[in-house]
Point group: C2
Chain length 264, copies 2
C-alpha cells in the first residue's frame, strides 16, 4: 500500500518513483469515465448544511449545481492530489475520509489534518498555484470537484457564498492555530484526549454518534498528526482504557467519560 510507512523516511522504490503513474490525472477529470459519478446536486446533498452557507436561495443553489458538475471516487489508499500538482480545484468530501500530509525533505511525513464528509480539501493550494500537500483517502471515498476559478466568479456575485469561503479559510487558519498549540504545549495524554474529543464533536455535528465511532486511520497516522510515535498513541489508549475514559477495541472507539477526558 503506497500510503504505508507514514512519518518514516520513504524509500522511493522504482515502482513508486513515477508519482503520476498511480494517480488519476486531475486535469483529465471532466471528461474521464471515473469523473462522472451520478449527477451531484448541492441542493439535495445531505452535507449541504456543513458545506454551504445557510442563506442561499433556491435559484442560487441551482446556480451552484451547474458549477459543481462532477464528483470523483477515490479508492482507499489512493491520492486525490499530491504536493506540487497544479492547483485548479478545491474539493468537498461527499463521502468517506482523507488525510492531508506534508513531507519534509528528509522524507519524514507530517499529517496536517483528517477530513471527513462535509470538509473541504485543497484551500492551501491557492497561494502557490499548486497543491501544498498530499491528500490520501483513508477509505473508499467520493469528493465533489469545485473549480476554483469558477468559484471565485460565483463569489463575486453571491455575497453569502463569498463570505462563506472567507469563513471556511479563516476557520482552517484557526483550526491550525489550535493544532499548533496542541503540538507546542500539550503532553501526549492531552493530545490524544483533545483529538478524540474533536473527532467526537465533528461526528456529532454531522449526525453520527459522538460517543461511539470507528477510526479510519492507523495509530501511526494518529501519531503523525499529534506529533508522537505510534507506540505512545497505543500506550495512551491503554491508559485511557485502564482509567475507564475510553474503550478502544482496535479502531472502534467508545468514549466513556467525556468530561474527565476534557479535564486532562
Amino acid at each position: 500500500m503506497q500510503a504505508s510507512a507514514a512519518c518514516e523516511p520513504r524509500n522511493l522504490t522504482p515502482d513508486q518513483a513515477p508519482r503520476t503513474a498511480t494517480v488519476t490525472p486531475i486535469r483529465a477529470v471532466s471528461a474521464s469515465s471515473a469523473a462522472r459519478h451520478g449527477t451531484p446536486h448541492c441542493s439535495t446533498c445531505s452535507m449541504r448544511s456543513v458545506c454551504m452557507p445557510p442563506e442561499l436561495s433556491a435559484s442560487e443553489l441551482a446556480r451552484l449545481d451547474t458549477m459543481i458538475c462532477t464528483t470523483r471516487p477515490i479508492k482507499r489508499g489512493d491520492t486525490l492530489y499530491r504536493a506540487g500538482d497544479t492547483f485548479q480545484s478545491i474539493y468537498a468530501v461527499r463521502a468517506g475520509s482523507f488525510k492531508t500530509a506534508v513531507m519534509h525533505r528528509d522524507g519524514r511525513e507530517h499529517v496536517t489534518g483528517f477530513q471527513i464528509a462535509g470538509d473541504t480539501l485543497g484551500l492551501d493550494g491557492v497561494c502557490a498555484g499548486k497543491q501544498n500537500c498530499d491528500a490520501i483517502a483513508l477509505e473508499d471515498s467520493v469528493v465533489c470537484i469545485i473549480p476554483f476559478a469558477q468559484l471565485e466568479a460565483v463569489c463575486r456575485e453571491m455575497k453569502p457564498m463569498q463570505h462563506h469561503i472567507y469563513r471556511k479559510m479563516s476557520s482552517e487558519i484557526a483550526r491550525e492555530s489550535s493544532q499548533m498549540m496542541l503540538l507546542g504545549t500539550m503532553s501526549a495524554e492531552q493530545r490524544l484526549a483533545t483529538f478524540l474529543l474533536n473527532l467526537s464533536k465533528r461526528f456529532k455535528v454531522r449526525g453520527f454518534s459522538g460517543s461511539e465511532f470507528h477510526l479510519r486511520m492507523t495509530r501511526e497516522e494518529i501519531g503523525c498528526y499529534l506529533g508522537m510515535k505510534l507506540e505512545t498513541v497505543s500506550r495512551m489508549f491503554s491508559k485511557f482504557h485502564r482509567e475507564h475514559l475510553v474503550h478502544a477495541n482496535g479502531k472502534t472507539i467508545r468514549i466513556e467519560d467525556a468530561e474527565k477526558l476534557a479535564r486532562i
Copy 2:
C-alpha cells in the same frame, strides 16, 4: 510589562483582570485621536509590493486609498486586539512587529506567529466573527486598519484584489502547515535553525539584510513559538555559536553559514 511570563500560567492579578482597561477599544478607532496618524496611502506605501497584488491599476489603488483611511500606532507591549474581541477589521503591519498568541484554558500561552512590516493580522477572526488570538506589539508599531466588510465589497468588484485575499489566507494556511510539521517532527536544533532561516528570508524580501538582523522577541517568546523552553532556545543559540553557524549577541543575530544551518 503585561506581555511577560508568556507560556507560564498567568496569574490574573486584579490590575490585569479587567482586560479592556489597558486596551484601546477597537470600535472607537475611527473617531479617536489615536487613530488618525498621518493619512495612509497604499499607492505610496513602501510595503505595497508585499501587501497588495501587483496588477492593480492607478485608479484601483486610489479606490483602496479611500478604504484604508486610518492607521493606528501601538506601543510596545500593548495589544492590537485580544481573543474574543468583536471582529470587524483586519490589519496590515505598516511598521514594527507583532506576535499573535492563543491561550489554553490552563493559562499557558502559545505563540502562533510573528508578524513584521507587510504582514497581515486578524484573518483568523472572520470565521467566528470575533478575534481568535491576542495580537501584541513587540516594539512601537503602526498598523493600517482595513474594515473587512468594505474589503469584501471591494473584492466583489476587483478581481485581482479578490484573488489576492484568497492567496493571503491560503498562504497563512500553508505557513501554519509548515509550522505544524516543525512542531510535530523536528528536534529543538532543527526548529531554531528553521526559524532563523525563515526570519532571514522574510527580512530579505522586504529589503533588509538577511544575514544580520535584530530579534524583537525574547528567548521565551521564541520558545513559545517553537514549542520549547527558553533555556533550550538559549542552549541551541550557544550550540550554533560554537559551531560557527550563527553569531548571536543577545538579540543581534548574524547568520554565518546559512547552508549548513539549512542542512541540520
